[in-house]
């Protein structure tokens, strides 16, 4: 298959002599959503960090469009948007300044109108110029999520995107995910929340087989 997106073959990783997962294989194509489930400490974040190319502590194969991540790194990073469970924003800077920097890193030439629009979408209108440390945890998370709307990508890897987000916000994010997936994007996310999106999606449970 030519345009297979992300392909994982027989992935194995351990931490401190504890096997997190072994022989893990799956495929994520354009227009698909995949949820990684599992209890705390089952290796969800480790898996996402491996797939984002941040961690090399694994054996097995990770392929992007048929080529291994190491060989295809430049193309892959151009298509990937990873939102980890860390803050992802500088607290002393305003949401707008944070987004400007994030976009500049990705070479996305966005005018402030686009960025303000993105902040508006995540419900932060009126907070653009405030330093992020004065925002609530949920609002800070939203600043980080606003990157979804100003950085073009094919694949979203989201680590617990719903943390600290209110109920209404969770519904909104689910809707964004649906729209992105029906537009041909792929989403890989971890969450403990029961996901309700309009598409079918698959779930991979970690930690069940090797407890």
């Amino acid at each position: 298959m030519l345009n297979s997106g992300l392909e994982v073959k027989q992935l194995y990783t351990d931490r401190d002599d504890r096997v997190l997962f072994s022989d893990l294989s799956f495929q994520l194509n354009a227009g698909q959503l995949l949820q990684i489930a599992g209890p705390n400490g089952s290796g969800k974040t480790s898996l996402l960090r491996i797939l984002a190319g941040l961690s090399s502590r694994y054996s097995g194969e990770v392929l992007w469009q048929g080529k291994s991540l190491q060989k295809n790194r430049h193309d892959y990073l151009q298509q990937l948007l990873y939102i980890g469970h860390g803050a992802g924003i500088k607290a002393v800077l305003s949401p707008l300044e944070n987004l400007r920097w994030s976009c500049a890193l990705r070479g996305a030439e966005n005018s402030d109108v686009v960025l303000l629009d993105a902040l508006n979408k995540v419900g932060l209108r009126g907070f653009e110029e405030q330093p992020c440390f004065s925002l609530s945890a949920g609002q800070q998370r939203r600043v980080n999520l606003a990157r979804l709307f100003c950085i073009p990508a094919q694949l979203w890897i989201l680590d617990e995107p719903f943390t600290a987000i209110d109920q209404g916000g969770v519904c909104e994010i689910e809707q964004w995910l649906s729209e992105f997936v029906s537009g041909g994007g792929s989403v890989l996310l971890t969450t403990h929340h029961k996901l309700s999106v309009s598409q079918d999606f698959s779930v991979i449970a970690l930690g069940a087989s090797n407890v």
Binding site: L54, G86, G88, V92, R100, A104, R106
Partner: protein
């Protein structure tokens, strides 16, 4: 990648880092306050005799500037590591080299440069002869930029550790020594009326070497530190 794009990236990183450290305050003020305080303590400790102080001044100023620079080093990547913005720097198709270069430059602009600019005043305090003032400033401008690059390598290597403080000093201090030797000897030579340009030229060589090669080491070290 086209040149303007690279330049835009450098400017964005520079702007963000300078604004962030100016707002936080402690990042630029701590080394500066340390520099002033310690230099002010020396006349109290060794007595106020002008000729004795003048003799020691080049060494004192350079050693304290070096320690002040070391003090500021740990914060270079610590904040970005803690708030996970370092991951964003690594996860872009754009090269890490210009980002690291810009970060180190920004760090020098808020720590090394103010130290260098303030040094004539402290020279006065330590009865540094007038001929030594200009070489002191020049050697500090060049020297602290080298120290920033060397320190950045150490900071990048230890940023992933819980307690990297002591290890950082152990990695970085031996590499600081050549800079200290040439820096303080430039000032001494100027006071004695000898040529001080050779020492400054040596510092210039260190600077160019660090500018070209240190970012490579920093990039590699950052990747290792985040890889866990």
């Amino acid at each position: 990648m086209s040149e303007p794009k690279l330049l835009k990236l450098v400017i964005a990183v520079l702007h963000r880092d300078i604004v962030a450290s100016l707002r936080r305050g402690s990042e630029w003020s701590n080394p500066l306050v340390f520099f002033v305080m310690v230099c002010a303590l020396f006349p109290l400790g060794i007595g106020p005799q002008p000729d004795r102080l003048a003799d020691l001044a080049p060494g004192i100023l350079w050693v304290v500037a070096l320690l002040a620079s070391l003090l500021a080093t740990d914060s270079l990547f610590r904040g970005d590591f803690d708030d996970a913005t370092l991951e964003q720097m690594l996860l872009t198709h754009q090269s890490l080299y210009p980002q690291v270069l810009a970060k180190t430059l920004a760090h020098w602009l808020v720590t090394g440069l103010p130290l260098s600019l303030l040094s004539p005043m402290l020279g006065l305090l330590l009865h540094l002869p007038g001929e030594g003032t200009v070489p002191l400033m020049l050697s500090l401008v060049l020297g602290t930029s080298v120290l920033s690059f060397i320190g950045a390598i150490g900071a990048a290597l230890t940023v992933g550790l819980r307690k990297g403080g002591l290890l950082l000093s152990l990695i970085v201090l031996p590499l600081y020594i050549p800079v200290l030797i040439f820096g303080s000897s430039a000032v001494k030579a100027a006071i004695e009326g000898a040529a001080y340009l050779p020492q400054l030229a040596m510092l210039g060589v260190f600077f160019l070497g660090a500018l070209a090669f240190a970012p490579l080491a920093i990039c590699g070290a950052l990747r290792i530190s985040v890889d866990q």
